[in-house]
Each structure stands twice: as C-alpha cells, then as structure tokens.
C-alpha cells in the first residue's frame, strides 16, 4: 500500500516532530530495557537459523530467539498499524516504490524493467545493506539515531559514510538514467 500517513505533511515540522518522537523512543527503550535500538544484527539471527557456520554460532547469535529478533519481528507490525490508520492509503500495486524510483527503474532497466529486473536491483541494494551494516557494525537506527544520541564518534563517521553512499548511488543512477 502507498500513502502512509505522516504526523504532519509539511517538511520541516513533519521532520522535527517525526524525529523527536523517534528520539524519545530511543530514550524510552534505554530506560525500559537497558538496551540500544538496532535493526541490522537481527538479520544474522535469521542466518543463524539455517547455518552451522561458527560465525553464526556464538556472540550475538548464541541464542537465536533473543531480544533483537523480537524487536525486528515487531517492526512490520508497526508498519501495518501505520498503514491501517492512514486515511489516504491507496494501492498502486504491491511492488510500487513511489513516483521517483518507478520513473528511475522505467528509464534505467531494459524494456522499462520487469518485476524480476527491479527485484534483482533491489536484491543487490539489499546485499550492500547487509554487508555494509555488518562491516560498519550497525545501520541508521543503531549508528545514526542511537549511536549519535550517545555522542559516539564512530557513529558519526558511519552516518557520514551512509549519506555519502546514498548520495553517490542516487545521483549517479538518476543522472545516468536522465530522470533528475
């Protein structure tokens, strides 16, 4: 579904309120559970289910059904509730990715892009997310939001890297495809 509702549609106020709520959440989560918010390590828990590799058998993955996995499994529930409570929710197709990305894929992929070509690109993007998050030790939740709230210098370095990568990827793709 598309058109999930925002706190406020306007950019600045919407961003400030949206971010503040997330910041409050980080603090609430620390206070209640004593743990730092994070979303990327849980993918390792899932890998550990089907793997006998030593890498996935100790440390963070010693107990697969741990708090990180539960938190990660909860994320889609939140998205579901968010969409169910969105008065302007509309379906533009199950794999719709918003006007800008759809325009990009149509221009960039041969023949306007079949679902599998688009899926292939997304799979590559996901692989970079997975590999990158393990190398960086976290993702935007763990580093940019939670890490920087702890004034952690490596998290600032990571966040700069995240943004650099995002800017490079989008600028290159959109310019080469001529859809800027």
């Amino acid at each position: 579904m598309d058109n999930v509702a925002l706190w406020v549609d306007e950019t600045i106020l919407g961003g400030v309120i949206g971010g503040a709520a997330i910041g409050l959440f980080v603090v609430l989560f620390f206070w209640t559970t004593g743990k730092a918010v994070g979303a990327s390590t849980a993918y390792g828990n899932v890998c550990a289910i089907g793997s006998r590799m030593p890498f996935f058998r100790g440390g963070d993955y010693e107990k697969i059904l741990n708090w990180r996995l539960m938190f990660w499994l909860g994320l889609p529930l939140g998205g579901l509730v968010a969409m169910l409570t969105s008065p302007d929710a509309v379906s533009r197709g199950p794999f719709y990715m918003g006007e800008r990305y759809e325009t990009l894929f149509a221009a960039m992929l041969p023949g306007g892009g079949t679902l599998w070509l688009k899926g292939g690109m997304l799979f590559v993007g996901g692989t970079l997310l997975g590999l990158g998050s393990r190398m960086a030790g976290g993702c935007q939740s763990g580093h940019s939001i939670c890490g920087m709230s702890q004034l952690n210098p490596p998290s600032l370095v990571a966040s700069i890297g995240f943004f650099a990568g995002g800017i490079i990827a989008v600028q290159v793709m959109f310019r080469v495809a001529g859809v800027v």
Partner: protein, 151 residues
C-alpha cells in the same frame, strides 16, 4: 516470555514511528539524495537533538533499566577499520533500495512488497559477511545444537 513480547511491541512502536516520520516513503529518499527535500535529514537531526539530552539525563541519574533493575550499560559501538568502507557500501545500498535494514521491515508491514527483495538481499549480504569472517571466529563457538534455542 513477557519481556520478549515487550520487545516485539517495542519493535512495533518503532516501526510505527518510522512510518509516521516518513522513513518508509520511498520518494523522500530520492528527494533527500537529490537535495530536493531535506525532511529525512531533519528527522535524524531532530531524533539526536532529543535523544542525546535524554541519554545524558539517564547517565547522570545512573538510571536502572525497568526490565531488570540493573544499571543501564551504555556501550556504544566501537571503531573498526572496515567501518568507513562498510558505511559507504550500506549507503550505496540505501540509495539503490530506497530503504535501510530497519525501515524495510516496516515497509513490509505497510504492504510495500518490493521490500521482500531487499530483505532477501540483506540476509544474503549478512551471510556473505559471515562466510568471509568465518575463519576469524575466536574463541570457540558456544552454541550447542543439542540444546534447545527456545526462549
């Protein structure tokens, strides 16, 4: 058991907040990296502007976690040599997929099923990292398959 449900609900709340902030809206990522709409950068900035003082207060009060009564251990992630390269790789994936490891799961719940391809990719990338670092695992692995992993 109740704590595990608690974590599940917390994850739900976080996913909901990500949605309402606009972090699950694909267009906002394209707009951000094309410098046309700084909304999501404002989200992160605002989150830290609220989160940092809150964390400071918790530290100052030597607050104890409600779940277990133990002092909250703030152990921020350390620096690794591969961190900067990894961060850029993650960023590239972020730009390509219009999602990150957390928001993609919230998107799944919203019915944005393009997320399935991304999630499969994140699993593959995580697994690849495991393959590449398998020989670096020390000390000996502790998980014993003969023991149940049930919560």
């Amino acid at each position: 058991m109740f704590k595990m449900i608690g974590f599940l609900l917390f994850g739900g709340l976080f996913g909901f907040l990500l949605s309402r902030a606009g972090a699950t809206t694909y267009d906002f990522y394209a707009n951000l990296f094309l410098f046309e709409d700084m909304r999501l950068a404002i989200v992160i900035g605002s989150a830290v502007a609220v989160g940092a003082p809150g964390v400071w207060l918790l530290k100052r009060a030597r607050a104890k976690a409600l779940f277990d009564g133990k002092p909250i251990a703030f152990k921020p992630k350390g620096m690794k040599r591969e961190l900067p390269v990894g961060a850029v790789l993650l960023g590239l994936g972020w730009g390509i997929a219009g999602a990150c490891p957390g928001t993609v799961m919230a998107m799944l719940g919203e019915g944005k099923f393009a997320s399935l391809f991304v999630i499969a990719g994140v699993l593959a990338g995580t697994y690849a990292y495991g393959l590449a670092n398998n020989r670096n695992v020390t000390p000996l692995p502790t998980r014993d398959d003969s023991k149940s992993n049930a919560a």
